[in-house]
Symmetry: C2
Subunit: 207 residues, 2 copies
DNA sequence: GATCGACTTGACCGTTTGGTCAGAAAAGCC
DNA sequence: GGCTTTTCTGACCAAACGGTCAAGTCGATC
């Protein structure tokens, strides 16, 4: 077990290699479906060597999850209360969509965890995540009250943005299967669709 | 191994009991995460007895999946080409939402399978499912061309209906955690939200 | 280039897991 | 009640799994 403070070059490199390999395996097999042998093999290391850098399979998984959860919420934090409401929310949706595009494995890892009851991050959900969402929902409500957005339930608006954007990462096989033989450009089409969806929904009726 | 044709009372009852227990376990643990012992215990039977009724763990799983896939697509098939477009699509969304409400475990079982690459139902997706979706997408396109719906990409509209409705089953823990301490009525609120979302999106601009 | 600590590994261990099997109970039938 | 077929179970097995350990190799520092 290497110390926390002084990280040697080799430690840094191998820990990163292991986390990358573990992300690949965990995201497509789930926690229980993934094996240390798979992870070690994907990392190009022996199993005991993997366990030299991480105390256990569980330790690798939780490290991945906690690192992920942080970056996952960045788009929400980037909402500007002083911006133009519709533009802000569409921009938020775009950021979330961009994360599905760039980090589909992270999205699937998260989806796996939540679908199976989120046993390891329930506290994070009920605590910090809830607080952040409530705050943003409050902001959206003030925009609606000011007549700058069409009236809509803020919490469910956020849920629907999550659902629609993450769908393209989490259900990728299904989307691809149905859209075949289209190329990879389907994600651009999807983004255009979502912009339209939320623009129409959020634009207040002209008086 | 019981024959297919003559099903005794006991066979019928126990096979159903096992499938019900397996649904409970598979939907919350995934295929690899579930164990035969868990399923047997949940069914109140011994493990060898479970294997007397099903050839293998895999056989239980695939039977669940194939039964599920059929009923899962019923709402799509119920679309009426001669109905009023917006009413038809909103009604379709409501049916999908109702399935999330009544069969959340089935939804999670499906989600687990797709997220992990749908290894067992890829053919179903690329074949019958794609065909059905393409057909409905064509219908929606004719409605749009006739000016009865606001222009929108039909395939992605269908995806977004799936994503938003299934989200409340698949990500139930997350939704509940954020909406606490609200009661179970949040699903009614969600449905209202979705009706608004799609009504606004689909209603053509007044000329 | 010797020394010390960091790194790596083959062999191994206990447990869990999916699955088998011979035979014991039940159930159905006359 | 006897006989056959179906249903059920305890004991067992081989493979896979997460994890350990003693011993070996490598890399940095002097």
């Amino acid at each position: 077990m290497p110390d926390d403070r002084p990280q040697t070059r080799i430690q840094k490199r191998n820990r990163e290699t292991i986390l990358e390999a573990a992300l690949e395996v965990f995201s497509s097999e789930g926690f229980r479906g993934a094996t240390l042998d798979q992870i070690a093999s994907a990392a190009g290391l022996s199993k005991p060597n993997v366990l030299y850098y991480f105390a256990s399979k569980e330790a690798i998984y939780t490290e991945l999850l906690s690192t992920l959860l942080d970056t996952w919420l960045d788009p929400l934090r980037a909402l500007d209360p002083n911006g133009e409401p519709i533009a802000e929310l569409v921009a938020y949706m775009r950021r979330k969509f961009e994360m599905s595009r760039q980090f589909p494995r992270e999205s699937r890892l998260f989806a796996n965890e939540i679908v199976q009851g989120a046993p390891r991050i329930l506290d994070e959900i009920n605590g910090p995540l809830k607080a952040l969402v409530d705050e943003v929902a409050g902001l959206i409500q003030t925009w609606i009250s000011a007549g700058r957005l069409a009236p809509i339930d803020p919490h469910h608006l956020i849920f629907s943005i999550w659902a629609t954007t993450q769908h393209y990462a989490d259900f990728d096989v299904q989307v691809r299967g149905i859209l075949l033989p289209e190329g990879d450009s389907h994600l651009d089409t999807a983004e255009d669709f979502l912009v339209t969806l939320y623009t129409r929904t959020l634009t207040p009726k002209a008086d």
